[in-house]
Amino acid sequence: MSQEKKNGKLKVAFFDFTSCEGCQLNKLNFENELLDLLKYVDIVEFREAMDDKAEEYDIAFVEGSISTPSCVQRIYDIRRRSKILVALGQCAVSGGINAMRNEQPLEKVQEEVYGEHKYLFPSMPALPVSAVVKVDYEVRGCPMSAPEYLHVFKSLVLGRKPETKDYAVCVECKLKENECVLEKGMFCLGPITRAGCDAICPSNGQYCTGCRGLVSNVNKNGAVEMLKQHGFSVEEALKRMKMFNTNDLEKEICWGKE
């Protein structure tokens, strides 16, 4: 079962926790680049696509959030055996859409689903991977941005540190010369959301749902003012932002308050 060590090739593995598996699928959408990368790495574990299992990994890519006690055990084990651990997609980075349920008391959610048998399937709040083990790099977005993933992957293969972006989606949107969706009367989270997706939603006429999480300093670029100008309150923005970032907002809930 165990994989032979081939000269100098990095051993790469993929793991999935609670998620929609969209990020797993998204990375397969770059088949040409992927086939190129296969020259430099050995994929030693990828449950969705193959039967093999390995002992240790140079790079472990982890998708999904941690949401059961057995997930916690598994991620400890993976961390112990990996040199570098990368969180892929918003579920892994912040808990993502799964964390929406954290707003309701867990007991209640479980009881609603399983009635008196609520202890049959143990569950816990949906957490980001970084809440349980150390995460070295992250690729944000729901789904994660595939070009960004390729950038991180290639950098790590070359032994470089991947670059990350920390400015608002609006910046990318303006560069693409889109008509601003705020002007069209929609409530867009672009002003407070971290870029890196090439403003793909506004570019398709849709508002940004904040799937990449907050920029680190929301007030700096006058985002709150901008939203207020269009008649939208901070409370409303927070409620919308929670769709993908409930856990983060619990930490940063004080932003925008003078």
Partner: protein, 434 residues
């Protein structure tokens, strides 16, 4: 024969999500044969509560990245039914093309990347890159083409962006559609037929096993139904979609975080084989030819042949997508805005055939256009009881074979259904069976 046998396949590989196969035979008597679903439940319906009508499909898309288009489509239509939002003919045509793209992509990936390695006795698709490069590349091209359809028409293939209640926030151009049409008619069809030749050459690797069951799919007398229709049961005929709960009868079993379903028997089948058995007469001409060539004749009772039915559908979807694009190009694409002015608030139910079978979304909206109650019944959940019943018939029939062979056949059986476990553990209200 009084054999003892215990099989426990932990986390079946090459399926979407986490499931275990558990088989227990004592003194030649089958005690247990089941697929345990161990994927953590995800509580989606609870998360929808209080969300605005335009946010709902964005959330339900994340039930499953593999089936996201199907979830969005069903979600949008349930919302439109609940709020009385009419859509244009153009919107309907574009949506049907999107469904065809998503269906042939999912079917190709499953048949060639997840199921075929079993026919060639390898553990994954990766060794095939060396030994069967042509077919791997053909499959990748088909996948890319389906992605292009998703990107061009819906903004992004995974978690589509521009399909919203009432229409599209951005429309493709006629030249983009023309380009897709040419690619489908040329490389697309060529690659599909080539992949089918390869599958035909492996036909003797498909295990022989028969179990007649109840086949449930959407049915529509105008076309091979994907987008809409009535519920069709091979046992009792047509049932209106609004009465879906009488068909699905969801219940909880202790070995699965996903609910099971049953209608007229202890289990029923959904998916490509159910669609083929119920609607095969409505397949496009080339797809009919291909079915014949692959030896697929309705009604087919061998679940291992689901993979074959999927490839027949690949050809049908390509043919029908081309026809729909021709209609679109002849009419010309009109610049329409989505219709988002509700005419009422209340309950809306919709059903779509997604690659793995019939899917239901059922929403109730309050007067503010926010979700009050939601329920989704997912194809894989509906197949679980049927898989268990198949295993219970299969294991005694092959009990004299070596354990590895039995295990392999069981894994192949589970894989044949192309279970999407991520999808099936979305969960909400439950009634326990004692």
């Amino acid at each position: 024969m009084s054999r003892d046998l215990s099989i426990n396949v932990h986390h079946v590989t090459r399926v979407e999500g986490h499931g275990n196969i558990v088989v227990d035979v004592k003194n030649g008597v089958l005690k247990k044969a089941e697929l345990d679903i161990v994927e953590p439940p995800r509580f989606f319906e609870a998360m929808l509560k209080g969300r605005n009508f335009h946010e709902v499909a964005i959330i339900t898309s994340r039930i499953c990245g593999i089936c996201c288009l199907g979830h969005q489509m069903t979600s949008l239509r349930a919302t439109e039914n609940a709020l009385g939002l009419e859509i244009s003919e153009q919107t309907e045509i574009l949506r049907k093309i999107l469904i065809h793209g998503a269906t042939f992509q999912s079917n190709v990936l499953h048949a060639l990347f997840l199921a075929t390695p079993d026919f060639l006795n390898v553990g994954s698709v990766f060794p095939l890159v060396n030994t069967h490069k042509d077919v791997v590349l053909a499959a990748l091209r088909l996948k890319r083409l389906a992605n292009d359809i998703g990107d061009v028409i819906s903004g992004r293939a995974i978690h589509p962006i521009s399909i919203v209640p009432g229409g599209f926030t951005k429309l493709p151009s006629e030249s983009e559609i023309k380009e897709l049409r040419e690619k489908l008619a040329n490389e697309g069809m060529k690659d599909a037929l080539f992949a089918i030749d390869v599958l035909a050459s492996l036909a003797d690797q498909i295990p022989q096993f028969e179990r007649e069951t109840e086949y449930i799919s959407l049915y529509n007398d105008k076309e091979y139904a994907f987008y809409d229709g009535l519920i069709c049961s091979s046992d009792v005929g047509l049932v209106p979609v609004e009465e879906y709960e009488d068909v699905t009868n969801e219940f909880v079993v202790p070995h699965s975080t996903s609910k099971h379903t049953r209608f007229n028997r202890s289990s029923y089948m959904v998916g490509a084989m159910a669609r083929f058995n119920n609607s095969h007469k409505l397949l496009k001409p080339k797809a009919q030819e291909v079915a014949k060539k692959l030896g697929l004749i309705a009604p087919c009772h061998n679940p291992y042949m689901i993979t074959v039915a999927q490839m027949v559908e690949v050809v049908h979807c390509i043919e029908d997508a081309i026809d729909l694009m021709d209609i679109l190009l002849e009419r010309g694409i009109k610049d329409e805005k989505p219709n988002q002015n509700p005419t009422r608030f209340g309950r809306g139910i919709a059903s779509t055939e997604v690659p793995r079978g019939i899917l239901f979304h059922d929403y109730t909206y309050n007067r503010k256009g926010q979700i009050e109650k939601a329920n989704c019944v997912i194809p894989t959940g509906q197949n679980l009881a049927n898989i268990d019943d198949d295993m219970k018939k299969l294991v005694p029939e092959i009990l004299d074979e070596p354990k590895e062979e039995i295990t392999k056949k069981l894994e192949m059986l589970v894989r044949a259904y192309d279970p999407c476990i991520s999808c099936s553990v979305h969960m909400l209200d439950v009634t326990f069976e004692e």
